[in-house]
Subunit: 204 residues, 2 copies
DNA sequence: GTCTATAACTCGATAGAC
DNA sequence: GTCTATCGAGTTATAGAC
């Protein structure tokens, strides 16, 4: 049975609140008081359930980063063609980010803040081996199916075009005179536009 | 006459130190003590030259954001062909970021934190009108020089591919097994690879 | 202009009543 | 399990000596 938010346990309400506050303000900008207020409970209770801010943050960070580094393995390790994989990835990944557009900036910012602390933890939970994908690209080139291109450059292009618009969203909306609705439509369209753009570039 | 850092005035040393500390930790993570230490002076002196943290931050933020939103106007408003402009932009802009690779994440993060506060200020100093560029793309399509593509999507692709690798640098280096030197080489190569990738895609 | 000392305040964390 | 009250460390900012 699905509980309403107000009926959720204190612990669940804290986690939901912490996710919202950390996403919006980051580790150093978030306040335990903000989280308690957002959860509608007392600050002391946050410490009752989670020993300290760091531990609560890490729990939220791991949860959010597994969303940002999703089960790409499933897509990338599949036996599909390169084209199919890139199409699947762009579509699934943009859909994924559309559900919570603040995750990319949050995750990349916190990782940049403390790479030694987080990169290993993140990649342990979401192993992201690009070697197979890289080999497949090289194989397609060798087979004469696509034009020569550096596999790393191509993978950077895919990731860049899918993720960056969400990171630069406020400024992009402003300089390109977009409103919230149009921005969303553009991102929906990118699920098809990016693969098209890529294969127009590398097809022979 | 160019002064050495140690000989620079206290005010200059504070600005240099503040730039370094804010870039590394952001507004909420930076400490006035960090800045004083980095400048090799007393904390009180920072307040003597700059009334408070907010004012010092804003000065640094404006300086760094004018580097992030550079004189694109000069490039975009030039009478050059679309191809020439995109080549010029990628080359100049990637060179620009290579000089201080932490600027993009810093600027985009602080803007996301307080869009209402900063977007107007930033765009007042660095007016970024994409309308002309957009019109030129549409004109090239109409003239039959390039394939049909949404101008906004194309501009997003250019910006994404130039900027994103610097934002995702720690994680990209890790999942693609790159070291610092190889990363730099890849970015140097992108100055040419991105325009090539784009025009392979949209040329007829 | 630069420093020491400290006031004023914020915030994470704990003690202890219920 | 949840609350009120408060401690104590850390931080911004100021006062005042030199």
């Amino acid at each position: 049975m699905v509980k309403k938010l107000k009926d959720a346990s204190a612990e669940e309400r804290i986690l939901t609140a912490a996710k919202k506050v950390f996403l919006a303000k980051g580790m150093s900008g978030a306040r335990m008081q903000d989280i308690a207020d957002e959860a509608g409970i007392n600050k002391a209770l946050v410490h009752y359930y989670f020993k300290n801010k760091e531990q609560l943050f890490e729990k939220i960070f791991m949860e959010l980063s597994t969303s940002f580094f999703p089960k790409m393995v499933a897509i990338f390790a599949s036996p599909d063609s390169l084209k199919k994989k890139i199409e699947s990835f762009c579509s699934a990944y943009i859909d994924n980010i559309l559900d919570n557009p603040h995750i990319p900036l949050f995750v990349l910012n916190e990782i940049s803040q403390r790479p030694a602390t987080f990169i290993k933890k993140v990649l342990k939970v979401s192993p992201l081996n690009m070697a197979f994908m890289s080999q497949q690209i090289d194989a397609e080139i060798k087979a004469g199916n696509i034009k020569p291109i550096s596999a790393v450059q191509l993978m950077m292009n895919v990731l860049s075009m899918c993720i960056f618009p969400f990171i630069g969203k406020p400024i992009l909306m402003n300089i390109m005179k977009l409103d919230e609705g149009v921005f969303r439509q553009l991102m929906e369209a990118r699920k098809r536009e990016i693969p098209k753009f890529i294969f127009d570039s590398i097809k022979k």
